[in-house]
Symmetry: C2
Subunit: 346 residues, 2 copies
């Protein structure tokens, strides 16, 4: 199903779980495949910052990629249709979103002013119409919405059927729940902040990997004057994960987020933080200082944030980075080899 | 055209221009009609705060109304159709927007979480799911978009054909260009801040009446913990106003807004400002202090802001206010008696 849309891109597949299992990648794709043994070999002791048995492991792909644009998608997501019945080319829309500026400093009531048929409305300051570079494009989901376990339990039959034909910039100073299901970003602008944290195996929490990344990314984008867009494109999310399993994973997060979000809402970064790496290291210090009291887990997470940046810098020599605007990359976390591929629709 | 939608509501019509002209109101409407002589008689010397020969005069209707919900609409706006071809009941959607809470403290990626078929997404803090009372519902426009004169001149043929099926809350701390063309608000929550300023006859500026109100309203809503929504409903905006005339009216505003917007973005109100009136008086002081240097006009405007509040309080005895949730009211500024009514579609 995805073949016509993904075939021309380079794929990085992170195989989660048992590395002795063999993954069959369908013919005709240009790909790299990494399992846990590869991650351990490449990162050595720094591999500790990459989660195991959790969708958070996908961020390893962001680190080893050499492309400018990254797209990451869950394995239960299919091609959605627009209201006219046409297949949506999600990647094409993400790349459009990333190539157009964002408008984080003032709200435009006709949504993305750079889209065809739209513009800045009366009263929009002219000095802000150049916009800001877009670092993140957050796509949405038809069919199964991205709900937490309590909402899944309360509304088991809810389906998202509303196609909202809009792309908009999340304003500066506003946090949002970033979902990793259908997400694209500019690796050169924000890559080192796209760390999905310590989740899953051996950790007290799961299903907050993308949320954690989203909070960090938004604070850093706001500091560096970068934009985050949300809205189009939609993908078709085929199946709801088990709400009971999810509740177990989310349990602590539900409490913790009540303290984490005010922390991020009030976090400020000093002027000296002029790169994503510097911002991220500074944020890790603040996490330790302010969230360490919530739970010792946050001290461990703060250390892992530092390890992540060290590993990133070790693997990435800035001068070597390609910056072709046409190149894209697709990162997919594979939970269980064959099944995962089937549900990836490749 | 509007008859089935407006017939059950109370109308207040503000006749702008020559008061000796007679306005013919079609049969079957419950209405009050005010011309300039009425405004002068009712407000006495305080009538100086109500603009003449400008759409800003409509705010007189907000002041004399005794209803909880106010809807204001331009005289060149018609009933729009949704994508299924059905007539849109704009007032019904505005009232829905105002009756549902808003979510100014955190962004929900599936837009209004209180709409049918939607909810808060994973990662939305549970402590914020009660939302905040909605004070303003800002509707949009199909066909002729609300562009400034330079954009009108550059894109004379642009039409808005995109129906975006969303209502969303403009986050706390973010300003937006509030257009008075299709606007509803809760008079009890925010009424005294809905002052459309000094525009038109004898003033150096026009077409910033709704913008001025929007900046003040948003700063006060943010301070008082109230929400502002934008999106649905759409109306059909039939004709673009003359871009050359508009440029003349907007000319100074285009420059001034570059200083006004940073002023409002950084404006803070002290804790003691616990009512809209107190907030507005405080804001008027800051306008004088900070914008007086931009142009003497702002000293005059700051004084008019105080006069407006004095007039509001004189006319409105809080204990007398009705608070029926079913009552609504429609304020329309009428430029030229008969023509205006024809184009109002009544």
């Amino acid at each position: 199903m995805w073949r016509p849309f993904f075939e021309q891109y380079h794929l990085i597949i992170v195989q989660d779980g048992d590395p002795s299992k063999t993954i069959k990648v369908p013919e005709g794709f240009d790909y790299e495949l990494y399992n846990r043994n590869d991650i351990n070999r490449i990162l050595g002791p720094k591999a500790s910052c990459i989660s195991f048995k959790d969708s958070a492991c996908r961020c390893f792909a962001y680190m080893v990629s050499k492309k400018k644009y990254i797209y990451t998608i869950d394995d239960d997501c299919f091609v959605a249709k627009d209201p006219s019945g046409k297949d949506i080319n999600a990647l094409e829309q993400h790349i459009k979103n990333l190539l157009c500026p964002a408008t984080p400093f003032f709200f435009n009531t006709l949504y993305d002013p750079y889209r065809e048929g739209a513009d800045f409305v009366r009263g929009y300051p002219f000095s802000l119409r150049e916009g800001a570079p877009t670092a993140v494009s957050h796509g949405l989901w038809l069919n199964i919405p991205d709900y937490d376990a309590p909402t899944q339990l309360v509304k088991p039959r809810e389906r998202n059927t509303r196609y909202v034909d809009a792309v908009l910039t999340i304003p500066k100073g506003t946090l949002f729940p970033m979902c990793g299901m259908n997400l694209a970003f500019d690796r050169e602008l924000i890559g080192p902040a796209m760390y999905f944290g310590l989740m899953g195996d051996g950790q007290p929490i799961g299903r907050y990997d993308d949320m954690w990344a989203g909070w960090c990314v938004k604070v850093i984008c706001d500091h560096l004057g970068l934009g985050v867009k949300t809205g189009l494109p939609y993908i078709w999310h085929s199946k709801a994960s088990n709400p009971f399993v999810n509740l177990k994973k989310e349990y602590k997060g539900i409490f913790w987020q009540e303290e984490i979000i005010p922390f991020f809402q009030s976090a400020t970064l000093p002027k000296e933080c002029t790169s994503v790496q510097k911002c991220y290291i500074e944020l890790s210090k603040q996490v330790k200082e302010k969230l360490g009291a919530v739970d010792p887990y946050f001290n461990k997470l703060a250390d892992a944030m530092v390890t992540w940046i060290e590993a990133w810098d070790e693997l990435n020599n800035t001068s070597e980075q390609t910056s072709s605007k046409k190149a894209g990359q697709w990162g997919c976390q594979v939970n269980q080899s064959n099944i995962a591929f089937q549900s990836c629709g490749l």
